[in-house]
Subunit: 193 residues, 2 copies
């Protein structure tokens, strides 16, 4: 039996991503978000949602660019911190001992210590309500050599991203492999055949 829990943002799982921007003084800033995801394959795009009140909001609007640094589970303390203070008041890169690396492709910095980074140029801005959704076209993805698989792609088991459980204020790592995508479903046969 299902119970109503109300109109709440309790979809799951949600990623923990770090959005990188330059402010008006070219100071690099970084901000944690959990409201985001991939939103198009061609062109490859990600979406990140920010409140207009954030320092990063104006930076994305001004530079028409942002990065997404995907932290590993070893960086959960820093990622949590970066989501709780504003770049107006704090140099978050310095506080985390992180290196701001200037993207060679878009006008935004990323976290040098993050295993996987996505460089985006702003493609769409959609005002929804408390949050504004920025759609960024992925111009390039850069990964630490150590997390790249033999196939040449970032290996999720080496990147070790984690998720945010906002309902109960917890972070969780990823666990065991459950099966091969676009393969394990083949055991199901439609009844009408």
């Amino acid at each position: 039996m299902k119970q109503s829990v109300g109109a709440k943002t309790m979809a799951m799982p949600t990623p923990v991503w770090l959005v990188g921007t330059y402010d008006a003084n070219n100071k690099p800033n970084i901000m944690t978000i959990a409201w985001g995801g991939i939103c198009c394959s061609t062109p490859p795009c990600v979406t990140v949602s920010l409140r207009r009140a954030t320092f990063s909001y104006a930076a994305i609007e001004a530079r028409k660019a942002f990065t997404v640094s995907i932290p590993s589970r070893q960086q959960v303390v820093e990622a949590d911190y970066v989501g709780t203070v504003s770049g107006r008041d704090i140099d978050k890169f310095a506080a985390c001992n992180w290196t701001p690396v200037k993207s060679d492709l878009v006008d935004a910095p990323y976290v040098g210590e993050a295993p996987l980074v996505i460089e985006c140029r702003l493609l769409h801005t959609l005002e929804i309500g408390l949050h504004t959704q920025f759609v960024g076209e992925i111009v390039d993805i850069k990964a630490d050599e150590a997390v790249i698989s033999a196939k040449g792609y970032p290996d999720i088991t080496k990147v070790q991203p984690f998720v945010c459980d906002s309902a109960h204020r917890r972070y969780f790592g990823l666990g065991d492999e459950l099966g091969i995508a676009w393969e394990i479903g083949k055991t199901i046969r439609p009844k009408e055949l």
Copy 2:
């Protein structure tokens, strides 16, 4: 040292969600997506991206509504299958032995057997490229009693959602708890203070 891996949709982690719709003949359909996420807190909204060629695309456009059923790891085989065939050809609910439940709030069905479901009315449609992004306002969330915590919210450790690693075609469950959100970062002190 970071290497370029190209402009690819390799952000991570991405959820595995089942989008529920009615077609023109009122037949319930369900489709697996990994391109989606929460995109606004107030009003609470989720976004799901679908290719225009999918059967579900026209259904969302016509009914201005969809649901998101969040499968548990025990349903990974069915969730995989549902992403590999079209509702034009197959009754996917029947093939999975799943029950289509008519939402009492929006014009769309959800998976009765999914532990957590989100009922959405279509708020925005954003054409991006190969994929179109549908933003749905969350009208209600319904959860199986067994997955609701003492706090009254869905407990991610009981829902047991999973993620899709599209780069290497694998599904992964969630793992261990890494810490308390908006709390563990407090150990970091900015250098300038």
